[in-house]
């Protein structure tokens, strides 16, 4: 096998509108997908921040205690 030469990609991202137009996605569906994506990553960030908080700062009292 000859040595691989990676492909260098130049330039930045296409805008969301350009991508939607290129794919033929309607404005309504585009907004819906934007909302779903934002919601998912916001939940992910919240989940991560919960577990990244030091133990002292957590409000463990909300959990039911084992008896």
């Amino acid at each position: 096998m000859r040595k691989r030469q990676p492909i260098v990609i130049k330039g930045g991202f296409l805008s969301d509108d350009e991508v939607a137009r290129m794919l033929g996605i309607s404005r309504r569906r585009q907004k819906e997908l934007d909302r779903i994506t934002e919601e998912y990553f916001r939940e992910q960030r919240q989940h991560l921040s919960k577990w990244n908080t030091p133990r002292k700062g957590r409000d463990d009292r909300k959990r039911p205690r084992a008896r």
């Binding site: 096998m1 000859r2 691989r4 990676p6 492909i7 260098v8 990609i9 130049k10 330039g11 930045g12 991202f13 296409l14 969301d16 991508v19 939607a20 290129m22 794919l23 033929g24 996605i25 569906r29 585009q30 819906e32 997908l33 934007d34 779903i36 994506t37 934002e38 998912y40 990553f41 992910q44």
Partner: protein, 209 residues
């Protein structure tokens, strides 16, 4: 280029033609290709977008010629389980079309071959000896790793955990998209387009751009 009712492929420098099998077992890798390609600021295009009919082949060729790059996955070139049991030749056929097109315009098209194990290609398609083959081991992480080997961005390098985050998101999104589109398979054009749009949106969120 909007002839034959195709969605225009523009700008051509950003489009990647993906050539892979449309079967249920391939779904995790299908999502990995979308996540990986979008992470490198490119837009995947597939033959799924081309409607059937007499001129389907013309339209596929037109789509390939409209893309600056193409990735060909030959990992499932095998006998189809459904009767009559025939080998699956669409992927090598479309690779052949691409190779010919790139010989005519070497500066306008670059192709890459992906396989589960590169030794399989040496056996099944010996004519490719001496060409680059990216072995992904049949796993989504392998596909993402090999896309990262095949592509380099000028200004940054996406981390594996970022690529995996986008792939994980697409995996979560898929059932919802199937329901929203009333689709039975993820290999329907409308589902593919939703996944591509959502992937490039997710990449921007993950990278904070």
């Amino acid at each position: 280029m909007i002839a034959n009712g195709l969605v225009p492929v523009e700008p051509p420098g950003k489009a990647v033609f993906l050539n892979f099998p449309y079967d249920q077992q391939f779904v995790p890798l299908y999502l990995a290709y979308i996540a990986g390609v979008c992470s490198y600021q490119l837009i995947p295009r597939v033959a799924l977008e081309v409607p059937g009919g007499q001129r389907r082949l013309d339209r596929i060729i037109e789509l390939i010629l409209g893309c600056r790059y193409s990735f060909h996955d030959l990992s499932r070139v095998e006998l189809d389980l459904r009767r009559p049991r025939t080998p699956r030749m669409n992927m090598p056929f479309e690779l052949g079309l691409t190779v010919m097109a790139s010989y005519q315009n070497p500066k306008e098209h670059t192709w890459c071959v992906f396989e589960k194990d590169y030794r399989r290609v040496l056996k099944s398609l010996g004519d490719l000896a001496g060409s680059d083959v990216y072995s992904h081991g049949g796993r989504p992480k392998g596909v993402l790793r090999q896309i990262a080997n095949a592509l380099v961005l000028e200004n940054r390098r996406p981390e594996m955990k970022q690529l995996l985050a986008v792939h994980q998101y697409l995996t979560k999104l898929l059932p919802r998209t199937l329901q929203a589109r009333g689709a039975k398979s993820c290999y329907e054009a409308s589902v593919f387009k939703d996944l591509v749009y959502a992937a490039q949106r997710a990449v921007k969120t993950v990278l904070g751009t």
